[in-house]
Symmetry: C2
Subunit: 338 residues, 2 copies
């Protein structure tokens, strides 16, 4: 099934969305909000699935579903833990910062605790504060879990994945190096993220979902031009089971916790950094990576970070070309004008 | 007024508590949970204050308030951002890890994003996982804010402090160095924190509260023996206004976000590290700091980290000797036995 939260109050209003994203129907009889459904997932999920079936069959009243009316599926959450499962991305970005990447990064997952008290909606503007902050997108896959017990192993963790969605993990590159040098991780350099209009249960993903990885190109665009289409199932060093197990090593995770994949990134066939789309590669899921490759190939980064007026788009399509999660489409707008 | 959440469901049941912590009364007519009250704070706060007045005057039905029936005031929260405002503590702990502390730490606040999807109750056991993890307490002061706008300045930020409470920021010392070296901040080394049974509005604190700092000794005990009584108003390099402003520099904070002071720590009169209580000092709010000072003074740390069966207690008393927030009292218990 596919679920969304229409904008309403702090936590949105839960609706069930048709597979083709054209129709939606109320879910209030089951739960007023997605968090409420997740808090009671074993009871709520089958009832929501029944509504979804009746919606597909045209057996219940429905209304036109409009992606621009959506908040993020969880407009705020109790946890946003974002991994860096595509170690290739980490290696490239570190190279750009002139920092060595320890070899342990290939075996020990990297996860940072993100802010989760307020997410941007999938069509909300991205606040622009200062050109020096180097505003960047990061296109990712993210999962929402039900209650995960302390110490779960990577294989068992897969069963706790309730929903899958896309993310734009907005990043301020100009602030990351300073914050990481302080040692306490990201804070100011990671303002509010945005998620896709729709979150889907793993069973909707068919063969593209192997239980821990989603295999399909993740499409990113800047001002209409393709930035990247790396396959999210390729070069994902740690699958979602592994990321969840890492997060739950010393504490249980509450239903509704969101775990991110980190920026999706594919290597080139020769094992080196992938090429820009303009040069025949699959491109990148963030501008920083494109800039690193430009530096490596041509001596200098040519791509600039985002400025007011720029528009980004993140989407994923199924084998038939249909949008799975709806599109994250955001314009960069001066914070003073929002 | 003083507020608490009795254990019930995932988010507790909000009650108003008498100033002397002996009686409580339902607050459901205003809001079922503390988060619900904070979501609507401008409307809820005066109504809760009115209930508190009537409770003090004995004008409404009440029942015996028992601290051990409490969850943390927010059993889960949308944000837990913990500062390191007592830079003295940071300097000492870094010294112990053999890492230099940059001088900028005295002017640029250090805050890490903590996990907030599930807090321990003030009398809940602390799960013990592995002796190698080096289980430690950290006694802190924490505030809960209402909605904080993006870019708030340190002075205006003070007006957004809705509640004050105490915290035990449970820390796994054996995991901190490895995680900080990875650069993404704490994750596994910061399992669930616990907060005091009661959260109080700043006006309850009288002269001890200057709008940004709480001046009173923070009492910590391990197995009944005093560990520390540093004054939370002394050596707090950044006040709560400064910490909130730092957290809100690039994003708004949602009502109910919790901001921690970091481990409370006082220097000795000569500017050096404070002495253990046994040597006439004010002691420490965590074992790590005591161990560092033991190493500095005697060449080796003698104090061990926490083991199953150990009990910790964190409390603060007003000028008349009465407990302000109730006590955090936790026993360390093997995780497999919880």
């Amino acid at each position: 099934m596919k679920l969304a939260s229409l904008k309403a109050g702090r936590d949105g209003r839960l609706v069930v969305v048709s597979r083709d994203l054209t129709r939606a129907t109320q879910a209030a009889a089951v739960a007023p909000t997605l968090q409420a459904a997740l808090d009671d997932w074993p009871r709520a999920a089958p009832r929501l699935a029944e509504i979804a079936e009746r919606l597909e069959a045209g057996l219940i009243p429905s209304f036109r579903f409009r992606e621009h009316e959506c908040a993020s599926p969880l407009p705020r959450a109790y946890q946003w833990a974002d991994g860096s499962a595509y170690v290739n991305h980490v290696a490239l970005v570190r190279k750009a910062r002139g920092v060595e990447m320890p070899p342990s990064f290939w075996s020990d997952p990297l996860i940072y605790q993100g802010g989760s008290d307020g997410f941007l909606g999938p069509r909300d503007p991205i606040p622009f504060l200062d050109e020096k902050f180097g505003l960047d997108l990061e296109a990712e896959v993210a999962v929402v879990v039900d209650d995960v017990p302390l110490g779960v192993d990577a294989r068992s963790a897969r069963a706790h994945i309730a929903l899958v969605m896309l993310a734009n993990d907005v990043t301020l590159r100009g602030l990351t190096a300073g914050e990481l040098a302080k040692g306490f991780g990201f804070f100011q350099s990671k303002p509010a993220s945005a998620f896709s209009p729709v979150a889907v249960t793993p069973d909707e993903l068919g063969a593209a979902w192997d239980g821990g990885r989603l295999s399909a190109p993740l499409l990113s665009f800047v001002n209409g031009a393709p930035l990247g289409r790396p396959d999210a199932g390729v070069d994902m060093t740690f699958d979602f089971g592994g990321l969840i197990a890492h997060a739950a090593r010393t504490r249980a995770l509450c239903a509704g916790a969101i775990i991110g994949s980190g920026t999706v990134s594919n290597r080139a066939a020769d094992g080196g950094p992938g090429l820009p789309i303009a040069d025949g590669g699959v491109g990148y899921s963030c501008l920083a990576e494109q800039r690193v490759v430009e530096s490596l190939l041509g001596g200098a980064a040519r791509t600039r970070f985002l400025l007011p007026g720029d528009r980004i788009r993140i989407e994923m399509r199924d084998a038939a070309g249909h949008s799975i999660f709806g599109a994250i489409e955001q314009e960069v707008v001066a914070a003073t004008e929002i």
